[in-house]
């Protein structure tokens, strides 16, 4: 049984259907990536898993339990953390407060310890711990967003375009972080436009086009696929 199963999912914004029946699986310990052009439906898929959007039909199972009827604020308690597209850190709160909010559903002393762990992972954040998050650079905000997601001690980490808008050095750092998380056995559902880096890292990849899965398979194989190379890796 997969950790996360999405079956025949359909999601609509009003009358416009953005997800037209997709299915995907994420197994424990895997990194799964969703790639596709802008508007393909990647973000919509993650937001539906998180409960921010409700499907028109289909189902989402986490550990075999229905997730698509659980309220958004209760999903994080089940072990799913979501670092949203555009980072969405809380700009008027300090770095430390942002991290503490990541642990909103947890109680106890271990929170302080985990804040320390995030600072160990991203020393830049430690320097800026008392600074308003809105004043951080894009890369630092992305570190904060990932750190904040980790603060809930998730079993499944969903990252929506973590490399978007970052400098090449920062992109590299972010992917190194993801690789590191993978090596420690964290299950990750990664949405990326940077298809080559994502597929290089992923156990399984899904290619989305206008709300449908058009291709799927192990990351390495998709990386070699001619259509994928043409469409997503900018090769002719």
């Amino acid at each position: 049984m997969s950790m996360l199963e999405v079956r025949d999912l359909r999601v609509a914004y009003g009358a416009i259907e953005a997800i037209k029946g997709i299915s995907l699986d994420v197994d424990e310990g895997q990194v799964v990536t969703l790639i596709g052009t802008n508007g393909a439906g990647k973000t919509t898929t993650l937001r539906t898993v998180s409960g921010l959007l409700r499907p028109v039909s289909g189902e989402i199972l986490f550990d075999g339990q229905r997730l698509d009827t659980v309220k958004a604020h209760e999903i994080v308690k089940q072990g799913i953390a979501h670092s949203p597209e555009g980072r969405r850190i809380f700009p008027l709160m300090t770095v430390e407060e942002n991290l503490e909010l990541g642990a909103y559903t947890r109680k106890g002393d271990s929170i302080a310890k985990d804040v320390g762990a995030v600072f160990d992972r991203f020393p830049r954040l430690l320097e800026r711990r008392a600074q308003k998050a809105g004043t951080l650079s894009g890369g630092e905000q992305q570190m904060l967003a990932i750190g904040r997601a980790l603060m809930s001690s998730p079993r499944l980490l969903m990252l929506d375009e973590p490399s978007m808008g970052l400098s090449p050095i920062m992109i590299q750092l972010i992917f190194e972080t993801i690789a590191e998380l993978k090596s420690t056995g964290t299950t990750i559902l990664l949405v990326e436009q940077n298809a080559s880096a994502a597929l290089a890292l992923a156990d399984v990849g899904y290619v989305l086009e206008t709300g449908r899965v058009v291709l799927s398979g192990p990351g390495k194989e998709l990386l070699k696929d001619e259509n994928v190379r043409k469409a997503y890796l900018g090769e002719d």
Binding site: P84, R88, E97, L101, S152
Partner: protein, 307 residues
Amino acid sequence: MQTFLQQLVNGVVLGATYGLVALGYTMVYGIVQLINFAHGEIYMLGGFGALFTYTVLLPGGTPVVLALVLMLLGGMVVSITAALLMERFAYRPLRGAPRLAPLITALGVSIFLQELVRNFYPAKSPRPFPQLVDPSHQFSLGASVEISAPRLLTVVVAVIGMVALSTFVRRSRTGRAMQATAQDPDTARLMGIDTDRIIVTAFVLGAALAAVSGLASGLQFGTVDPRMGFLTGVKAFTAAVLGGIGNISGAVLGGFTLGIVEVMATQYAPDPFSGGAWKDAWAFVVLILVLVFRPSGLLGERVAARA
């Protein structure tokens, strides 16, 4: 100089009430972008709840301090109940509707509550309020600048209320969740924050502070009346905008600024535009000037808090 200082004291007292009520507008707006125009009526209900507690529930001869505490609790119960019902049945169903819908609903709720109180308290308006704190008891603040006991009490409870609220919002877990919801409600839900509950909390806290203000006003003026919420509501809303709506310190600063501007305009404005009638005009001149140079108010954030 003496007159100036006395007017400054007058302005601070006036501003304390505005600030306390403005907090309710600013919290709710900050979290759901709703201008709850019926908040003035919540303040009015706080005054009537306290009056009802005193006249109907308290036995004669209750010690003054105990009576005041119980009146405050009574006022809060009424204010908070009204705020909860309002949120649940008037505003929540309209979440996501065009902005105009909750605004018009707010006006309807406002009129409904005024009429409800008018009918529940059949007497000629305004209703006399027990003078538990002797208004003729004056405290001297140096060189014949004075403040009467109920006015001093108004300032003291307002400051306590403001400090308590800002500490709560900055330090407590729920307070942090309120800030998070205000800055980004969707992401707040991803953190596990029940934003519906946070919205209710904002209504409740705003109502509690409005009840403090309603009781203080009853003690200060010796009357409450069903229409009292309208004018105070408009002024408090202005104070919230002046300070930067959505910003808690801004509401307090806006309240005091507005109170002091009104008072100083009464005293010092040049002749054809002087006096109590023009004080509101001056208050709006200041509001407009502030908004021209700082469109988001004195302490409002320039950056959009939301992506």
